[in-house]
């Protein structure tokens, strides 16, 4: 939906048609639910930057996901499953990139109203990355992709980050694509 500006050819988007303020909405939501200690999102003034030194057509690319391996017996993890904390994982894991493992996102807060997680390719671009390798756009994929646990402790995230770096180094990657779900 749009609004035409009177006397001009300009057509403006609706006021709400901007990227969602997730931090504000989440904060307000939990305050409304009666929790008085709002979550504090990480924030830094300094941001590291390492230029890509190898042309992508020669580079080995790694993939990191927050999706979780399907766990039989851990409840509904299918499309539009309600938020499922039992399907969470707390250790970094790695699986081959030779085939597409059964990875799900019922353990995170994706938008269950407007999407369904029925297509793994919306949150895990592994097949598209393999196609990019076949097309010569990327030199190679790392032999395995890695899973990054989603939890709310910054200390646990730091430990996980160190482990993920260690595994990426072992894989000999020149660059990494990270896809939160």
């Amino acid at each position: 939906m749009t609004t035409t500006v009177p006397g001009t050819k300009a057509v403006f988007a609706e006021d709400y048609d901007v990227p969602i303020s997730y931090m504000e909405r989440t904060r307000d939501y939990y305050v409304a639910l009666g929790y008085d200690n709002p979550y504090r999102w990480a924030s830094f003034t300094e941001v590291p930057f390492a230029p890509l030194r190898t042309p992508l057509s020669l580079a080995r690319v790694g993939l990191i996901t927050t999706a979780a391996p399907y766990q039989p017996g851990a409840g509904d993890q299918g499309p539009r499953a309600p938020y499922n904390a039992a399907a969470k994982f707390y250790q970094v894991y790695s699986v081959t990139t030779d085939s597409v493992a059964d990875l799900r996102i019922s353990h995170v807060g994706y938008d269950r109203l407007h999407t369904s997680a029925a297509d793994i390719n919306t949150y895990l671009p592994l097949t598209r990355l393999r196609e990019a390798v076949a097309a010569g756009r990327i030199g190679a994929l790392a032999p395995r992709l890695h899973g990054s646990p989603t939890n709310r402790s910054h200390r646990a995230t730091e430990t996980g980050a160190a482990e993920l770096l260690h595994r990426c180094r072992k894989d000999g990657v020149d660059a990494v694509v990270l896809v939160p779900s």
């Binding site: 988007a13 709400y16 901007v18 990227p19 969602i20 303020s21 997730y22 931090m23 909405r25 989440t26 307000d28 939501y29 409304a32 639910l33 990480a42 924030s43 300094e46 941001v47 590291p48 930057f49 390492a50 890509l52 992508l56 990191i64 938020y83 904390a85 039992a86 969470k88 707390y90 996102i105 994706y110 938008d111 109203l113 407007h114 999407t115 997680a117 029925a118 390719n121 919306t122 671009p125 598209r128 990355l129 990019a132 756009r137 990327i138 990054s148 939890n151 995230t157 980050a161 993920l164 770096l165 990426c168 180094r169 660059a175 990494v176 694509v177 990270l178 896809v179 939160p180 779900s181």
Partner: protein, 122 residues
């Protein structure tokens, strides 16, 4: 995930994040970010739409190659739908009655205790 990207980048390996939560990723501060203005869960493109997914990945790869400095965000030109009203629904408090709020709080406490038990067992 932003913290992971920062950590890997700081050790010399370039990274790009593909994501849908613009404010959270930019608040943290990451080297490169391909933002899709889609409902959470579609960081890699639209469901059952190979062309959308291919274009999304291609943009992320270009960001990887071409970002001139840290905190580079590129927004995908793809639209989720012509009607943007889906953006109003996320945690929309105006739709919550006091009964619903009590129900949600109860659900959240259950979910938290499941996560805690699982974390402690790991």
């Amino acid at each position: 995930m932003s913290l992971v990207a920062r950590h890997i980048e700081a050790e010399g390996i370039p990274t790009v994040i593909m994501g849908c939560a613009k404010d959270i990723v930019e608040h943290c501060g990451v080297p490169r970010f391909l933002f899709s203005d889609f409902p959470l869960g579609n960081s890699a493109g639209r469901p059952f739409d190979v062309e959308s997914q291919t274009q999304t990945l291609e943009l992320a790869l270009r960001v990887l190659e071409g970002a001139p400095a840290a905190r580079t965000t590129v927004q995908s030109p793809q639209r989720w739908s012509a009607d943007a009203s889906w953006k109003r629904d996320y945690n929309d408090l105006s739709k919550l009655t006091p009964e619903k709020i009590a129900e949600r709080r109860k659900e959240f406490d259950v979910v938290k205790s499941i996560a805690r038990a699982k974390r402690e067992a790991t």
